[in-house]
């Protein structure tokens, strides 16, 4: 008699939905596992964690987490999560979505959520392209790299996500890759305790699109490329860390910013208390 065997993360995943939809070598499953490891260590009950996404391959991550999860419309994970956090501040709300979702169609929402220092954890999976729709370029595509829509190489400057998040006032900013599961888990765990806007960029291979267009034979070659091009520098000057790996520039990783700045929920509750107490 053989017993049914479960993965150690059984309680936290919807195991009946596996194998998941992602391609061989796609990094998104590693990202999911790191998030769940951090969640386990957070000490916050599973019932209080909520996971929200927009649209894209990354945005399918919540569908595999055994939590209250919301798969919203394209680019709109942040306003949805903002509303939920304001309505129930006891929730630990995490938004996990792709580079295209959070910074292209949803870029304006990102700017304002970070400006407000809204109490949300935002994990952006950056695979440098629109994975789900066949690998078109966007604001995160590195210079001269190829994609379905830049067959001769990308001529547009690339968004530097940690620099943007920090300039807007985020309380916490980090960048890791899925090749650094332990550091990424620690970073997510730390960010779960942050008051205000916490932003983590996670570089992740997309073998059939970004990988294939740029000459990587498979996911492993792409992983190795990111591993070899990466350096950890927590005190990096953020304006210098744009991603440009095809011209010999190192990819800088680290926990860059962790500062105390009044968060939206704190200010809102102070305001409510003041007015209820008869103040102006």
């Amino acid at each position: 008699m053989t017993e049914v065997e479960y993965h150690p993360k059984h309680e936290l995943i919807r195991e009946e939905r596996f194998p998941h939809v992602w391609c061989p070598g796609c990094g998104l499953g590693i990202e999911l596992q790191c998030y769940l490891n951090a969640l386990e260590k957070s000490g916050i009950p599973q019932n209080n964690h909520v996971l929200v996404s927009g649209i894209g391959c990354t945005a399918r991550i919540p569908g595999y987490a055994n939590l209250d999860t919301y798969h919203t419309t394209h680019g709109r994970g942040l306003p949805f999560a903002t509303g939920m956090k304001i309505a129930n501040p006891d929730l630990k709300v995490t938004v996990i979505s792709g580079d295209g979702d959070l910074f292209n169609i949803g870029g304006n929402h990102f700017i304002h959520a970070a400006r407000r220092n809204m109490d949300l954890l935002v994990i952006c999976s950056n695979n440098f392209n629109y994975g789900m729709t066949g690998g078109q370029h966007g604001s995160t595509t590195p210079l001269t790299s190829k994609s379905a829509s830049t067959p001769y190489g990308n001529i547009e400057p690339t968004f530097n996500l940690p620099y943007i998040a920090s300039a807007l006032g985020a309380s916490y900013v980090a960048r890791w890759t899925v090749m650094h599961p332990r550091q990424l888990t620690k970073s997510i765990r730390t960010a779960m305790d942050v008051k205000g806007f916490a932003f983590i960029e996670v570089l992740s291979p997309c073998p059939p699109n970004f990988g294939k267009f740029n000459g990587f034979k498979d996911g492993f070659e792409e992983m190795e490329f990111y591993r070899k091009s990466s350096v950890v520098q927590n005190d990096a000057k953020l304006e210098d860390i744009s991603i440009d790996p095809f011209h010999g520039k190192d990819i800088v990783l680290g926990d860059f910013v962790n500062r105390k700045r009044a968060s939206y929920i704190t200010l809102e509750h102070e305001l409510i208390d003041r007015i209820r107490g008869g103040g102006q």
Partner: protein
């Protein structure tokens, strides 16, 4: 130094750190594989520090060759947890075996 919070059995297996390495026995691991979930990305075979894993000649229902433990490396797993953390498909995990 910041102390890690208390963690579950499985977690301990994953994040084991070689403290006072010489004074303790090298840990041993038992590998569990879900062959129907493996997509043959070869991350675990490449990143296992002891080359314990290999692609098997068998084919699963989705047409992939799932990984298996190498016959000559049956006792070489040190329960480091790398294969488990780097597997995007939740297709492999390790249990630490108690050494008396």
């Amino acid at each position: 130094m910041i102390k890690e919070p208390k963690i579950s059995e499985n977690q301990r297996e994953i994040w084991r750190e070689p403290v006072n390495f010489g004074r303790f026995a090298v840990p041993k691991g038992e590998i569990h594989i879900f062959p129907e979930r493996c997509k043959e990305c070869n991350y675990c075979t490449n990143y296992c520090p002891n080359q314990v894993l290999e692609r098997s000649p068998e084919v699963n229902v989705y047409g992939y060759h799932p990984v298996r433990v190498r016959e000559d490396k049956k006792d070489s797993c040190v329960a480091c947890g790398m294969c488990q953390s780097i597997c995007p498909d939740f297709a492999i995990f390790v249990k630490e075996v108690k050494i008396q």
